[in-house]
Every structure is written in C-alpha cells, then in structure tokens.
C-alpha cells in the first residue's frame, strides 16, 4: 500500500521535482510573445492610444474584447470545481485544481486588459479615490476583486494537504512549503476544519462567479446603444463564459497530459464527460444567441437592423458566420458521438470553441460602435500591431503563469485522488444503496403478496 502511494505521488510530483529542457523551450517561446506585448505597451504608453486602430466612433476594440474573453474563461474553475464538488461527482478529482488555477491566473490577465485600455493608466488610482458606484465599471472592479479573492482562497485551501506532501518529500523550497502548509499533519480535527471550509467556499464561489460575468455584460447592456441594450445579456454572457471556460480547461488538460505524462489520471472518460458538458453548453449558447437575434430581427427597429445586417451580410459577416461555425457547427459534429477518438474530437471542439467565443465577444463589441444612431461618419476598425502584440502577449503571459504554477505546486490534487481511492468508492456505494427502495418496504410488499 505504501509503495503504491509513492508510485503515483512520484508521477504527480515529477514536474516539481525535475525540470526538463521542454520547460525552458516553452518559457523561451512564450517570452518572445510576452516581449512583443511589452514593447507594444511601452509604445502605447509613451505615445498614446493613437497607436491602436481605434477611432471615432469605434472607441472600444481588441482590449475590451479580450477583457470580456479572459474574464469569461475564468468561469472554468467555478463550474468544474464548485458545482461538481457540491454534486459529489467523483470524476472531478484530477481536474479541479487545473480548473481553479485557470481561474486565478486568467483573472489577472483579464483585469490587466482594462488597464491596458485606459487612456491615462497613470491615473488608474482615480477609480479608487473617486469611484462612482453608479458606473458598471465599479461593479466590475468590486465583483472581480471578490471573485479573485474567493478563487485564490478556494485554490489554496484544498492545496494545503498537497503542500504538506511537498514539505515532507522535497528538499527544495522547504521554508516556502512549510509556511504554506499551515502545519498540516492530516489529523481528524484538521480534516474536519478543512472540509468544512472548502464546503462553504464551494457554495460561496458560485454566486460570486455568476455576478462577475453578469456585471461585465452590464457594461454593454446598461447603455442605450442598438443591440447592446438587451435584457438577455446577463445570462447570455454567463452561459458564454462557462462555455469558453470548459473549452479552455479541456485544452489545458490535454496539453499538460501530454507534457507531464498524466495519462493514468486524465483518462478518456474524463474528457468524455467534459465533452458532454461542452455539448450542452453549445446548445445552450445557441439558444440564447438565437433568441437574441430573432428578437432584434422581428422588432425590426431601424437602428438595430443596421447593426444586425452589418453582422449578417455586411462588413462583419466573416466574423459572425465564423462564430456560428466555431461555436455550434464544429462542436456539434465533434461532440455528438464521443465513444471513439474521444480526446481528438474533444480537443478539436475545444479549440474551435475558444476561437468562436473570441469572435462572439468581438461581434458584440465592435459592430454596435461602428454603426452609430445619429448620421455620424461610420468607422472601419482595423487593429494595429500594438493590439495584436498585446493580445499575443496576454495569452503568452497567461500560459507562462500557468506553467510556472505547475512547477511549484502539483497541478493534480494528490490527496483528492487518494481520497477517491480510499473513501470515494465506499461513499458512492453507500449513496447508491440509499437510492434503492428500503428493506422494510420490500418485506411488506412480499408479505402482502404471500397472503
């Protein structure tokens, strides 16, 4: 029994204990993009937002699109971790930490996009000194702060037993791990405390997460602009966020499964279940999109129809139909039958959804601004190298943060897998028995039949 534990712990601890050349190549590659982004921002900071492709009237472009996109991906952690934990789904065990880390890292990148977008970032503290709570941007600030804090806590608490393993088994970073392990020795008392705290967090994190993307949607829906001022935006954005979050999670899982040899832990069945969830979200996303556009089309308000046709057949048609292709057609055809070549199909669907959801954010932000209500000269938005650079740098920075995390903490939860082995099977069996009819009832039925 002890040997077994050492074996599997070895695989999960390997990325932390040893570092191969692959890591350095990855860091080098990501650093190139991060450097591109850094240079782009330096130019923008020095000269002003004029170096972007933004103009009158399209004053929001890539940065706001990326802001919504990255904050959307942060819903990966909540759905998988909190909801599956609350519903006692055993298959979540190797996945929860990967999801939670995505949330924590991507929230920084998402919040950073807004800072990049400011005309005067040197005055960003004005939001703290003079903030107005009537403005949806302040709702964003508060909500994202709450979500970031909750996610970090929700990531850290279940990591404590694993940090204790690192403290005991590894030679390096002894002080670091000892401090963070909070003196964990695995006693009954400690386990009770931790489980209670994690349960409270799981319940708390879900409404906070829902509020985050709802207030992000309110940035658009609280204005009076055509095709923005829609009551459906709150739930629409949350559904889209969960959708893109699952896709991003799947991509991360497949990448690290290959890189670190986690095949014994991330099995086709996990991808199959996640693929099914992705399929459900695709159908849900399509439902919301359909309702949104049908309502606009049926009402046929002239200013809304200008934006509508711009998306359907006008200058934005490649992005709109590309979005439909990537978010609906490709995922549906990949995910309907997942019994064979599961991982390949799920990967294809996830990459497609990631692209498609980015296009969806773009299609929401830019066309409405391009076709103003008054007869203002229309604008054609064309992003510059600065915006492309900052986008590439943002993705690379997120990947780098994630990669560095996997080098310091186990990306698959060691103790939860162990708990699954030792306690999970029994718990599930006992739970299934409670679903079946009671013994007493059965006896009564038999007796009455016998008479």
């Amino acid at each position: 029994m002890v040997d077994h534990k050492d074996d599997y712990e070895d695989i999960l601890l390997a990325p932390i204990a040893h570092t191969g050349p692959g890591f350095y190549w990855a860091v080098a590659g990501l650093s190139v993009f991060i450097l591109w982004g850094a240079i782009a921002y330096a130019v923008q900071f020095h000269q002003g937002l004029g170096v972007t492709g933004l103009q009158q009237p399209v004053s929001w472009g890539f940065y706001v699109t990326n802001f919504v996109f990255f904050i959307g991906i942060s819903h990966a952690g909540t759905l998988i971790s909190a909801i599956l934990r609350l519903s006692k789904a055993e298959w979540r065990r190797p996945i929860t930490r990967m999801a939670e880390v995505i949330t924590c890292m991507v929230l920084f990148i998402g919040a950073g996009q807004i800072l990049i977008d400011l005309g005067r970032p040197d005055r960003m503290l004005n939001v703290i000194r003079y903030g107005r709570y009537q403005s949806p941007l302040l709702w964003d600030a508060t909500s994202i702060s709450a979500y970031l804090t909750a996610s970090v806590v929700y990531l850290y608490l279940p990591m404590i037993p694993d940090i204790a393993v690192l403290r005991d088994r590894l030679k390096k970073r002894k002080l670091f791990y000892s401090v963070l392990a909070l003196g964990w020795t695995g006693t009954e008392h400690q386990q009770r405390i931790l489980n209670r705290a994690i349960a409270i967090m799981a319940v708390l994190v879900i409404p906070i997460a829902v509020s985050v993307h709802t207030v992000v949607s309110f940035v658009f829906s609280m204005t009076l602009q055509p095709m923005w001022h829609s009551t459906i935006f709150g739930p629409y954005f949350v559904v889209g966020a969960i959708f893109s979050g699952i896709a991003a999670l799947i991509v991360a899982m497949i990448v690290f499964r290959k890189a670190y040899g986690f095949e014994p832990y991330l099995k086709p069945i996990h991808f199959r279940y996640l693929g099914q969830l992705l399929l459900i979200m695709a159908l849900l996303w399509f439902y919301f999109t359909f309702a949104e556009y049908l309502t606009g089309y049926y009402g046929a308000e002239p200013e809304e129809m200008k934006v509508f046709w711009a998306k359907f057949t006008g200058p934005f048609w490649p992005f709109f139909w590309g979005m439909v292709l990537c978010n609906f057609i490709i995922p549906l055809s990949c995910l309907v039958r997942l019994s064979r070549r599961t991982i390949g199909k799920v990967l294809a669907a996830s990459l497609s959804v990631t692209v498609g959801m980015w296009l969806e954010r773009f299609i929401i932000v830019v066309p409405t601004l391009s076709f103003p209500r008054v007869p203002f000269p229309e604008g054609v938005y064309s992003p510059s190298w600065v915006e492309w650079g900052l986008m590439a740098g943002s993705f690379a920075l997120f990947a780098l943060f994630y990669l560095l995390f996997t080098k310091v903490f186990p990306i698959i939860s060691i103790w939860e897998i162990q708990e699954g082995r030792e306690v999970g099977l029994k718990e599930v069996e006992e739970r299934l028995l409670t679903y079946l009819p009671d013994e007493a009832e059965a006896n009564i039925l038999e007796a009455s039949r016998g008479r």
Binding site: I128, Y130, G131, R132, Y133, Q134, L138, W139, T142, S145, A146, T149, A150, V153, L157, I160, L175, S178, V179, L182, G183, W184, T185, T187, H189, Q190, I193, L194, R196, A197, I200, M201, L204, I208
Partner: protein, 83 residues
C-alpha cells in the same frame, strides 16, 4: 538540535500569522474603500443608493471570505500545540 528546530518553527509560525494578518488588512482595506465610496456619493448627492445597495452585498461577501480564512488558519495553527 532542539533550539534549531524551535527557531525554524518560530520563523514559520511568524510567517504564517503574517499571511493571515496581510489578508485581514486586505479585506479591511477593501471594506474601508467601499465605505469611502458610500460617503463620497452621499456627500455629493450622487446616487448614494447604488453605493449602499452594492455594499450590502459586497461587504458581507468579503467578511465571509475573511471568516473562512481565519477559521482555517486558527484551526490549523492554534491547535498545533495540542499534537
């Protein structure tokens, strides 16, 4: 040997409680900030209802987070001596 171990333990303990302290300061600072915004809106007559409404949700959320973290820190650190 004993002294080395207890020195190390003391450093670790201090750092752990320091982390808890930083978190208290962080949540405390956030709550003070929200109250500052309420007071500014009240003084300027600038839709104070929005600030009050949001704080009624935000402040309890942060207090619960603080409570959970302190509960775990206290439960794990303070009871260590009993082991």
């Amino acid at each position: 040997m004993e002294r080395e171990r207890s020195d190390w333990d003391r450093v670790v303990k201090t750092l752990q409680w320091a982390i808890a302290g930083v978190f208290v300061l962080f949540v405390g600072g956030l709550i003070i900030w929200i109250i500052h915004l309420i007071r500014t809106a009240w003084r300027l007559g600038d839709v104070p209802s929005a600030s009050v409404g949001i704080s009624l949700v935000a402040i309890p959320v942060f207090l619960v987070l603080l409570g959970v973290v302190l509960y775990v820190f206290w439960g794990l650190l303070a009871h260590q001596r009993e082991e």
